[in-house]
């Protein structure tokens, strides 16, 4: 649930930022010509993957053992 909200904020926040505040994304980073927008775009891609990884870790660590426990109770 939390992960889903994080995903929505990440992506739709990015999109709305592009639609409403272009100049912010156009600001240059330091001395180079690289824009904040480029960094944010890359960040969205990376963080989207991180969210899936967090889910997998959570599911393997907490969800599956709980499932096993419940299935055991069903059998018994």
């Amino acid at each position: 649930m939390m992960l889903t909200i994080a995903l929505f904020i990440l992506y739709y926040g990015f999109i709305l930022l592009v639609a409403t505040n272009r100049s912010l994304l156009a600001t240059r980073v330091g001395e180079s010509t690289t824009t904040l927008g480029i960094l944010v775009g890359v960040g969205v891609l990376l963080f989207a993957w991180v969210l899936t990884a967090v889910y997998v870790v959570w599911a393997n660590r907490f969800y599956d053992p709980e499932v096993q426990r419940l299935r055991g109770r069903l059998r018994g």
């Binding site: 999109i15 592009v18 639609a19 272009r22 994304l25 927008g37 989207a48 993957w49 899936t52 889910y55």
Partner: protein, 512 residues
Amino acid sequence: MTSTIGTPTPSAIGFFLLIVGFTLAVTYWAARRTRSTADFYAAGRSVSPVQNGLALAGDYMSAASFLGIAGLVALSGYDGMIYATGWLVGWPALMFFIAEPLRNLGKFTFADVVAFRLQQRPVRIAAAFGGILTLLFYTIAQMVGAGNLVTLMFGVSYESAVVIVGVVMLLYVLFGGMIATTWVQIIKAILLLGGVTVLTVLVLAEFDFSVTRLYAAVAQRYGQAALEPGGLVTDPVDAVSLGLALMFGLLGLPHILMRFYTVPDAKAARTSVLYATGLIGYFYLIIPIVGFGASALLGRDEIRRMDPGGNMAAPMVAELLGGTPFLGFVAAVAFATILAVVAGLTLAGASALSHDIFLHVVRRGKATEHEQVRIARIATVVFGATAVLLGIAFKGQNVAFMVGLTFAVAASANFPPLLLSIVWRRFNTTGAVCSIVTGALLSVTLIILSPTVWVDILKNPAAISPLRNPAIVSMTAAFIAGAVGSLLTRESRAEALFDNEKLRVYLGVGAE
């Protein structure tokens, strides 16, 4: 340097024959292991998470996104990067909402899940309709793109290109079923990711392996505007609508959803999405580098001269930095990419026809394994032949909007009933049919009335529907229709079965 793009070179033909030959050999090996429906539809449920991750990525990364996004970045700069991010964000959503429940509840198709506790016949018909509609639009876009690409790169006639694609793809699916299709997608994914990686390294080498140098070179040539948001995303509502279509459309693509049945269990499904997301994310991370490299090294005019849409940007860079042999490799990989995607689409279409319609609607669930496999093969030929005919019929049409249409229909007609079926006790047959029909009709109608079709293609003065992508309206409407339809009628059997369904969804009890 005069380009060899447009003429069949020995290296291009060589790589092409190598790839086709190898994949057909794999198909032969797969055919000998394809006996039962579980083999044909789901590769015997023996695909590992790593393999499925590669196959999912291979199924998803189309030639259109490789060439198209590289071209978009080359011609429009940062706007291409914005578009690229949208293609990845559906995958976390797929993980959170659909991947594991789908694997636990269904057998071969996503309609299995929608119809799980509802009346089979009406729901199967509706779900198959939504699924096949989605697949047809996507297939047309892919086949026309295939025809154009092969013509552009190899110089053969459009019709021959479409027929060649159709025939080779049919061989994979007809004889090798899901096993062959999976391996073709894995091979294609490795080739595509490998090829684009090499291309990226070559581009960065021109700039001392510094992306900042690359961006500076682009800015020097085309101004700082190339690195800033341009005209692509202007209206917030339209932008969010497109985002919704891209994100939730993925969750309604039958050929992607089908892949979840090829792994042994839900945990494997979960892991495979993780790998797929990583691979696809990597892909969309490096393509813009190729695109920027193209604009800095070749120049936008040069790129437009080869193809006004910019689709040749990546191959041109390949030729510039790696010579004709590397171009030949890239051309062959682009071709393999199309084959893999179309094979996946055909298998999904065939399974909707044979597993959903023939088995569950016509035969009410009773047919022998042998009959089911036979019908599946016949359906494969039917869908494949239709794909070729449609590809030829749409020659010369601008079908780029069909990809957006596909995702909009998938997000509106397939995803809402799928989600509601999993999470809502009161969801019933009436609700399912209402939501599918509403989603499909509304998304298609609104796209026809949108600027992309009504103005650009049909040449009317002004669009009736201002949205370029209708998802925000049609998807919401489909959810509402599903809710209203369910609340107005009572289906006690569906409600009673919900607890059993939950056991299966969350604990995997009784999963196939």
